[in-house]
């Protein structure tokens, strides 16, 4: 049997152990990228085989936290894809300003880079005080990191560059302090942020949102899981609310496409159609 086919069997067993022992369901994930992540996890913890990962998952308390940390969405950067943050600032914020309260859900917040980016945009647009950002992830480890808001200093230049290209009105360094080899984001940016565990695979709608940001998460999902997540987003959004997906993500292959209108060709920002029917 080819090594790769043996990996498929081992990964299947690993996935079952995660489900049966810990309640995390990865069956709806796109298989090819999931396989790569499991093999990367195996390399990172220096396990001789995937089966060894399964054994540790079953018998070693606490190992699941490492596993979930490694299998959750990858690290992002502040103001990643600056044109998207520019569109959020210029096209979306003026509409958000018309609502008395602005609820924003960032689904799959990873280490929080984009949460703080959003908070900065809201601050600079004068909307922060009536905004509330719900930053969710299914990985506790990721949430803990996100809450710290500490990033490597060597990233600061790229972040600053992104910030300016995204239409930032000041200097990114206004929003962090650099110490040792790290930058720490201003505590005040966290004031209106709630970090919480939420799994798009198994959890439901938890509030009415004016904006949902979920970038480069759906690309890792299979069809059914993508539809589930999009259904949650649709049902969470107020009419006229916005959904911001990753640049290469779209509703092209989704049954939900009719419920949204795309703002422009350049960015994957959608608006929950005023005219669209709510399907039950």
């Amino acid at each position: 049997m080819h090594t790769s086919d043996r990996h498929d069997i081992e990964i299947d067993l690993f996935r079952r152990a995660l489900m049966l022992r810990h309640g995390y369901d990865f069956t709806g994930y796109a298989p090819a990228s999931f396989k790569r992540r499991v093999l990367a996890l195996q390399a990172a913890v220096q396990a001789p085989t995937v089966s060894r990962l399964t054994e540790r998952l079953l018998h070693e308390d606490g190992f699941v936290r490492t596993v979930i940390g490694r299998l959750s969405v990858p690290v992002s950067e502040m103001f990643r894809d600056p044109s998207v943050f520019r569109a959020l600032r210029e096209d979306v914020m003026p509409v958000l300003a018309t609502w008395p309260q602005i609820n924003i859900w960032q689904a799959g917040c990873a280490h929080g880079e984009e949460v703080y980016s959003l908070a900065i945009v809201l601050r600079e647009c004068g909307l922060y005080e009536r905004a509330h950002i719900f930053a969710t992830d299914f990985s506790e480890e990721a949430l803990a990191r996100a809450e710290e808001g500490i990033y490597p200093l060597h990233e600061a230049r790229a972040y600053s560059d992104n910030y300016l290209r995204a239409g930032g009105t000041g200097s990114l360094s206004d929003w962090y302090v650099a110490r040792y080899n790290r930058i720490k984001l201003d505590e005040s940016l966290r004031k209106r942020v709630t970090f919480a565990r939420h799994n798009l695979v198994s959890d439901g709608v938890f509030g009415e949102m004016q904006l949902i940001v979920c970038r480069n998460v759906l690309i890792y999902f299979g069809d059914d899981l993508q539809e589930r997540a999009l259904g949650l987003f649709r049902d969470s959004l107020v009419h006229g609310g916005f959904l911001c997906l990753g640049n290469r993500e779209s509703l092209a292959y989704s049954a939900m496409a009719d419920d949204f209108e795309r703002l422009s060709e350049e960015t994957a920002i959608y608006r929950r159609g005023i005219r669209a029917r709510r399907t039950i």
Binding site: H2, A32, S33, R36, A40, P74, I219, R248
Partner: protein
């Protein structure tokens, strides 16, 4: 080696790859049955412009791969800049922003390995010019599944590191000049 045994082609190119790919894609026949999936390392963020450049040289359509897109024969799919391109059963395209592999994203190893899982022995891998070793592990995955490996003749390549790395790790069934690669693909997948 009989015609019709191969269902798909994956290609990797890095430094010097745009000219090289234009030659290979330019020689492909409109009757090609197989899809062509391409990783070209580029500093540009504009994959669309790259596609236009390739499409202008070729009779087969060249498009940027989208997530979930069905992969059909006679069409070339380019990995979008900044994203790994993978193949899922179907076959359909998938993208990821996971860590770089061989310091690059898109990585040819990621494409080749996932394609080898789907097409197995019916896959052809092509490694062209480049200054790194991406594609070598991918070529090994293809050849270990009894797929076919084609590597550009290092002496002809603008940058010889990538073809040489593939040959060193995985070997090849054919080591060819660019001008000979397209015609062979037509013959194998016509």
């Amino acid at each position: 080696m009989r015609a019709g045994r191969y269902d798909a082609i994956v290609m990797a190119a890095s430094s010097g790859g745009i000219d090289a790919l234009r030659i290979v894609l330019g020689a492909l026949d409109a009757r090609l049955r197989a899809p062509v999936l391409i990783v070209q390392h580029t500093a540009s963020e504009n994959g669309h412009a790259l596609c236009e450049l390739f499409a202008a040289a070729s009779v087969i359509p060249v498009i940027e791969a989208e997530p979930r897109q069905p992969i059909v024969g006679g069409c070339a799919y380019l990995a979008p800049p900044g994203y790994h391109l993978l193949v899922e059963a179907g076959p359909r395209a998938a993208l990821s922003v996971d860590d770089k592999v061989c310091h690059v994203r898109p990585s040819a190893d990621v494409l080749f390995e996932s394609a080898a899982d789907v097409w197995r022995s019916a896959l052809i891998g092509v490694v062209l010019t480049g200054a790194n070793d991406d594609g070598a592990a991918g070529m090994l995955a293809i050849r270990s599944r009894k797929g076919l490996g084609i590597v550009q003749l290092p002496d002809e390549a603008e940058m010889r590191e990538m073809p040489e790395a593939a040959l060193r790790l995985a070997g090849a069934d054919h080591v060819l000049r660019l001008a000979a690669i397209g015609p062979l693909l037509n013959q194998l997948c016509g």
